[in-house]
Assembly symmetry: C3
Homo-oligomer: 119 residues x 3
């Protein structure tokens, strides 16, 4: 059931999306929180038009959001964001002269109203 | 005030976006939870770069997120996610050999800090 | 640490994204809630495929979402959404004959599981 959305700013040229999707999904689905690997739906979103702070250039970001049904312990959530950060820290390009920020967020989804089906 | 965001993976070729927007908005605005049909702002987002689980191909997803001001009952939220699922179940393409996952999520938006205006 | 995501519908032609990013970041980072201007990561998302309510044309929207770590007071959140609305009210195009809706949402991010690093 979880959704993983990774956004990054356009100045991170050559972001290895395919490899990152593979490694992120491997890392997250290895968690005991996930019952079935097929439940994890991950995607990349490229931020074409962006600004970090009040300075127009020389800054980049990559941000991951993992949305999963509410009810996990704080420890389980920290473990999951750590798994995601480990992969992104390794694979995110670091262009010379650019300050790159990495962030990972865990979001609880409302469980009673969630719909999930295989068509 | 609600926002409806529907994402789907690129391998769902021919997704009838225009028709789905029409039918989704009809279904959601018919709910007694919505005071004014014009309040519902819906959009599609195409996930170009994605992976479902640890297998690189043969899987697709469509995911809808309805964001509305906090305060609805659990029953009202379930009714809303059900309305959305009904439309997407009917209109989502089912390419042969592809496992398609459908999910619908309801998100509460913070009411006191919400700004809403017509310009 | 905050993330600002601004979406707008394609019929708002000529949206001055670069100027808006500059003014939004100036307005938000002037808040006492932000320790470091470099923490604010803002981006625009264009909604290409959208529908407002049950009428197919003549309606547009711009929606901003500010995601920041939980713990702010309701007053601080209202101040932040007000700062964002002030900029967007001024800069959003108003095509003749189009009803334009502006909305701003503040989202609390889970603090214990949040990861934040500079690479």
């Amino acid at each position: 059931m979880p959704h993983l959305i990774v956004e990054y700013s356009r100045n991170l040229d050559g972001f290895p999306e395919a490899r990152a999707l593979e490694e992120l999904n491997q890392a997250v689905t290895s968690s005991p929180e996930l019952a079935d690997e097929a439940d994890l739906k991950s995607r990349f979103v490229l931020a074409d038009s962006f600004q970090v702070g009040t300075v127009g250039a020389g800054r980049a970001f990559v941000h991951a959001q993992l949305r999963l049904l509410a009810g996990r312990t704080p420890e389980a959530k920290q473990d999951l964001s750590g798994r995601i950060a480990d992969v992104l820290r390794r694979l995110t390009p670091r262009p010379p002269g650019v300050m790159v920020q990495l962030s990972v967020e865990i979001v609880d989804m409302d469980r009673p109203s969630y719909v999930k089906e295989r068509l």
